[in-house]
Symmetry: C2
Subunit: 216 residues, 2 copies
DNA sequence: GGGGTTAACATTGTCGACAATCTACCTTTC
DNA sequence: GAAAGGTAGATTGTCGACAATGTTAACCCC
């Protein structure tokens, strides 16, 4: 039971803008490689260019946008090399998160929470978009439950990049059955507190994803 | 031998400002918890508040600054909890970097390069500031040689936070002999391609650091 | 004296305007 | 016809000014 009285943290405008941009990029509203034209976007968001630029700097820092001086900011284009690098980072983060949960968290509860998502995944059978969202939800939950601000922050960026990849593939990204099973195994490994198996499955899971994404 | 002809990437002003701020924070020029007053700093840097604010947003994204709406930006204050979390993230990154080097890099060359820093560490014996810098150089080199843009970007933030911790301690942070030996063992594990031992030493190294920093 | 109100100050948040730069197209010249 | 040069348009980079907000201290009332 958390208290109702807590410091109220009003988000700054740049931070809100950054969130909107992340969502837009993750959902393919801005295509990879596309230029973000400040004046247009500022008008659409109903703010001036100042706060918008500040928000965009955040995404630049995250590596979701790349800056070319006097030319503008562009959405990154995920090369196969980028995909590999992103999964390297993602695996590092998620392994650390899983490890922390197994070491000093309630891994049984976490495992059950993850299995709930797996159930939904099985229920959403056939719908690639829904399964994709649940896939992301699974990994987001895993890291969130590790209760690490830094891992969460880094992971958020990786998940946007993952979304970009999934979105770029659309239909091609299927094999929903196999994915549900992979996630179920992983959730169970965590639920039972099996460190070695969690490591192994997580690693294999990432390798599979890379394989699916780059060999196309 | 690299070519002299390569695309010239001019850094954007916010990016330069962000770099300067990171250095300033890492070297204790801005104390933890201190407010960054925009007008003052803009005057000192010789730019207007616009670009400065954009640069500061980058550090906010990195978690080095925290924003309180209508109040301003403040340098983070590293609580013991923060130190633990930072080392969790750092360990995740460095393990991934080491693992990548051992898997598909020239680990022997990397190990030797790291040993060169260890030698300097032994030579700088007694000078805590010098040893501290070499400690950081060691870990920066490790991650840089993994050749991963994402791990490098994430690691940079962690290293600023590490610097903050070291700087906050100043004199207390000694035991230079022990540190040189720890690093030497680690470098040798990498040089010989020993995955398990690298993992183990890296993990122990981080735990030691946490111990030194929080138990004060 | 404690609590509440008000006013002055400092700082941040936002905006519009201007300068600098790049791109693309057109013109000129050989 | 191809290359060099010039020009117009569009976009980003930067700045100064104003509005909004929060803080502090003085003052008043009970």
């Amino acid at each position: 039971m958390t208290s109702y009285i807590e410091p109220l943290a009003q988000e700054s405008t740049p931070s809100i803008i950054a969130d909107k941009l992340r969502k837009a990029i993750g959902h393919g509203e801005f295509k990879p490689g596309a230029q973000i034209v400040e004046a247009d976007l500022a008008r659409k968001l109903g703010v001036s260019r100042g706060p918008l630029r500040e928000g965009m700097q955040r995404l630049t820092q995250e590596g979701l946008l790349v800056s070319i001086r006097n030319r503008g900011l562009f959405v990154i284009d995920m090369t196969p090399q980028d995909i590999r690098d992103m999964y390297l980072a993602r695996e590092a983060i998620e392994r650390a998160a899983a490890f922390k949960i197994l070491r000093d968290g309630d891994f049984e509860t976490v495992g059950l929470a993850l299995l709930a998502i797996v159930d939904q995944m099985a229920a959403a059978d056939g719908d690639p978009a829904a399964v994709g969202e649940l896939d992301i939800a699974f990994h987001e939950l895993l890291v969130r439950l590790a209760d690490s601000p830094r891992l969460s922050r880094m992971h958020r960026t990786s998940m946007i990049e993952t979304r970009m990849c999934i979105h770029a593939l659309e239909e091609t990204y299927l094999a929903t059955d196999a994915r549900a099973i992979e996630h179920e195994r992983l959730a169970n490994a965590i639920r039972t507190g099996d460190v070695a198996r969690t490591d192994e499955l997580l690693s294999a899971h990432m390798d599979d994803a890379i394989e699916r994404l780059v060999s196309r």
